[in-house]
């Protein structure tokens, strides 16, 4: 199929940037979206132009590196997939596809479609861990029983790949689904209880400091999340945050 691409081009963080139109031809419907981008880039390189910069790595939907806003949606129109798993069969011959970076004040553009998601890392530095030494001299793994239900729920929260689609989709560029998932994973497990009060306070404080917006419960994040992280994680974070503040 033949497509028109409207792509955001920005040479570096200080550049103003603009949308530029490109044409690609003979795109197979079996290609992944990123393979289509590869075709475009090969074309640009051979013409002596600069290829479009975009983040990508594992190309199997787990590393969370890829991050495009395609036709007005994070990771494009398909559900439960990252951009690398999005296939061209979701589009039609002759389509015009708008491709933009994930936009948020806390995710500054580095180049073209590449953004800096360091804010997510800093939120986790603030408390996304259990303070246990890696000596291996902990208690036996089976010494504390954990109900299957709690383990499964913690796992559901832990499946977050940190791609930032929640922030990109949110009309407020809020990071609450991400932070909620991280807080929830530990809140649901007995190992996380000891530091629960400080963890949620510190992580929320860092989240606010990074300049993310507030949650207005539109639910867009949950719909666009490639891993189906539930809004329940935000409610749980809110509860944790309140109880942490009550406890002092």
């Amino acid at each position: 199929m033949n497509l028109t691409l409207k792509i955001w081009r920005q040479s570096d963080a200080n550049d103003k940037g603009k949308m530029v139109d490109y044409k690609v031809t003979e795109i197979s419907e079996h290609m992944s979206f990123l393979e289509m981008m590869d075709v475009l880039n090969e074309q640009l390189i051979n013409k002596g132009e600069e290829p479009v910069a975009f983040d990508h790595d594992c190309r199997e939907g787990i590393c969370g590196m890829c991050s495009m806003f395609i036709n007005g949606e994070a990771h494009g129109p398909d559900r439960g997939v990252t951009t690398c798993q999005l296939h061209m069969r979701m589009f039609n011959d002759g389509d015009t596809i708008t491709i933009e970076p994930f936009r948020a004040k806390a995710f500054p553009v580095i180049k073209d479609l590449v953004v800096d998601r360091g804010a997510f890392d800093r939120i986790q530095h603030a408390g996304g861990y259990i303070s246990v030494n890696t000596s291996g001299n902990t208690q036996d793994a089976n010494a504390t029983l954990i109900s299957k239900h709690a383990a499964d729920e913690a796992m559901d929260a832990a499946t977050c790949i940190g791609c930032g689609a929640c922030v990109a989709s949110c009309k407020n560029a809020s990071a609450m689904l991400f932070v909620g998932a991280k807080v929830s994973q530990y809140a649901l497990l007995p190992q996380g209880q000891v530091e629960a009060v400080d963890r949620v306070k510190n992580m929320v404080a860092q989240m606010d400091l990074e300049g993310f917006g507030n949650c207005t419960n539109t639910g867009a994040c949950e719909v666009e999340c490639p891993k189906g992280i539930s809004l329940e994680n935000i409610a749980r974070m809110n509860r944790e945050f309140l109880s942490a503040n009550v406890k002092g």
Binding site: N172, N214, C215, G219
Partner: protein, 226 residues
Amino acid sequence: MSGFFKSSIGRKYAMALSAFFLMFFLLQHFAINILSVFSPDAFNEASHFMGTFWAVQYVLQPILIFGVIYHFVMGFILEARNRSARVKKYAKNNGAANSSWMSRNMIYSGLCILAFLVLHFIDFWFPEINTKYIQGDMSGLLGNGEGFRYYQELAHKFESPLRVGAYVIAFVFLSLHLMHGFSSAFQSAGASSMRKEKLQLFGKAYAIIIPLGFIFIALFHHFNHH
């Protein structure tokens, strides 16, 4: 708890709490207003009680006013912060694909409600305050002393089709606001059960029935006077 209300989540709690209060107030307001359809006397009695009982006037009323102002001011503050969280907008943003119109436009439905409140205050609240506290007439009686004035005043206001039209439009926006706001307040407050179907349904029912009821009252009085 210091700093709690400065945090994003703390503010959400505050927003939700004021919303709970306002939703409760709305229910109570509706309960009294609907009396006017069935029994002008009962409506008069209830209005007079609310208008003169000290706890309502000096405790609940200030709280309500504070709640309303807080809800609006905080709504604007949060909106401003949320807007600043994305400086550069998307060239193409397909919000309809992942969220409801209501949830994305709370600020606009809220502004419509604010405009309505101004009208509503001019219509009812200012004259009430004037009568009771400036002119000092706490009797609640009509000028000629023949019974309570509340029902008559109400009926009189709804003679104007323009005003009724404005009320109807405002209540449509209230409905839209509540359609998202009801469950959103529970979600903000950390209620996990709010995502269960039955409560969602209850929220929707509330968001439709209450505003529809107010519209019905306005239309009822409008058409009963012609």
